[in-house]
Amino acid sequence: MSDDAPILDASGLHLRFGAVPALDGVALRVWPGEVVAILGESGSGKTSLLRVLSGALAPDAGGVLYRDASGAVLPVLGMGEAALRRLVRTEWGFVHQNPRDGLRLGVSAGGNVGERLMAVGARHYGGIRAAAAEWLRRVEIDPARMDDLPRDFSGGMQQRLQIARTLVTEPRLVFMDEPTGGLDVSVQARLLDLIRALVADLGLAVLLVTHDIAVARLLAHRLVVMRRGRVVEHGLTDRVLDDPQHEYTQLLVSSVLAA
């Protein structure tokens, strides 16, 4: 049994929006370097879970603990806004479903990628530019387009730019909300491959929300299936998808259209 501790540890999460249970006793752990996919359909609570885990939404009950780079265990929901923002700037990353939510559209691609570096004190223009060029290359955007505005990019490119922008500070934990939603299939494939490679290269821990089983199978080591605020099944990705135990999981898996 490995004895390294989880990077994120949530337990007893409850959240209601009026009469609707968004989270009904959810517990979840993520270890360093692993990709956990939260799979569910609309109304499953998966987005609420992501927001609670990242400190953007307070639950009615329960707690989330984060183990930072120094090994200190911090309560996500009690650490205070200053500490949380510092975390979001440095050790955490976010990839939003709509890249426009994660980019500054009026700032050049290079400026978008360099911003996190500048926010943590980088003050050498040439160095910032070089780092931005390197990351654009890594997400397969031509560095010559560094001074272009994101609004001149395609949706897939904007999403890759968002990924570069968030990974430039080499975070330890990345939250992704349907990162390939809304993209063309061929563009999705390229993006998924990129995410797969980057996650492996950087040893990132990723918490990924998706409704797409294929995305979960490709990217995730572990799968958490949610329905109506509850975790109905969880485990190794290929086990959950190939030998689903819960009725709902069996329904999901059997509903996938074959190519």
Partner: protein, 238 residues
């Protein structure tokens, strides 16, 4: 069973509960006892539908078990694989337990060379060195260099199968599960596959295989393990 073992199944039972069919229960395996020693190759035998593939998948951790357990000798210790959590299963699959199936789950855009090199890199090998080993193995399997840089999506069945084999044999796993390893292969490549299996055995690997090709089976298997089909396919409600 006594003596050295690398992989064991003890009283293994596997039953599927089909909730979408009113909770129908489909028992496939019950009371399977199997012990495989290092350097030994056990061929699973039995009629189609008897549960050979199911047993393979249980041994790999792809399927869970409803009864009994599976033990793997991992890092010198006996690990209860059926009770292992996801992280431990991944660790065992990374270091100890290899799997070659008939189907290559195709990841878009990744070149064959990197598909083969990936398990080596996951074990800590430098990417360049991993690619070198991958290249050598693919060449041995008669895959021309032109194909190494291509993703296998457009390959023929035989070509995909050779990528599968290379990926499964490159790391030198102590335990190997082979599910129809020579499907779609011509005679020359079947011979290479047989050689690879023999070399793995000689290196101390415990091998469990499903071989529909009797010739291949006879050349590599030390013994057969027969699975009898269930007498009744019970369709009682849960």
């Amino acid at each position: 069973m006594s003596g050295a073992w690398a992989l064991r199944a003890e009283g293994l039972a596997k039953t599927f509960t089909l909730h979408l069919q009113g909770g129908a229960r489909l028992p496939v395996l019950s009371g399977v006892d199997l012990s495989v020693a290092p350097g030994e190759c056990v061929a699973l035998a039995g009629p189609s539908g008897a549960g050979k593939s199911t047993l393979m998948r249980c041994l790999y951790g792809n399927y869970g078990a409803e009864g009994g357990r599976i033990l793997v000798r991992h890092r010198g210790e006996a690990v209860d694989f059926t009770a292992a959590d996801a992280r431990l299963v991944r660790e065992v699959r990374r270091e100890t337990l290899g799997h070659v199936s008939q189907f290559l789950r195709v990841i878009p855009r990744v070149p064959s060379l990197d598909i083969v090199a990936e398990p080596l890199v996951a074990r800590g090998m430098a990417r360049d060195a991993a690619r070198e080993e991958a290249r050598a193995l693919l060449l041995r399997l008669n895959m021309p260099p032109a194909l190494h840089a291509l993703p296998p999506a457009t390959f023929s069945g035989g070509e995909q199968q050779r990528v599968n084999l290379a990926r499964g044999f490159a790391p030198g796993y102590p335990v190997l599960l082979l599910d129809e390893p020579t499907a779609s292969l011509d005679a020359a490549n079947r011979d290479v596959a047989v050689a690879l299996i023999r070399e793995a055995k000689a290196a101390g690997a415990a091998v469990v295989g499903i071989f529909h090709d009797a010739d291949v089976r006879d050349r590599v298997a030390d013994r057969l393990f027969t699975i009898e089909p269930r007498q009744e396919a019970s369709r009682s409600a849960a």
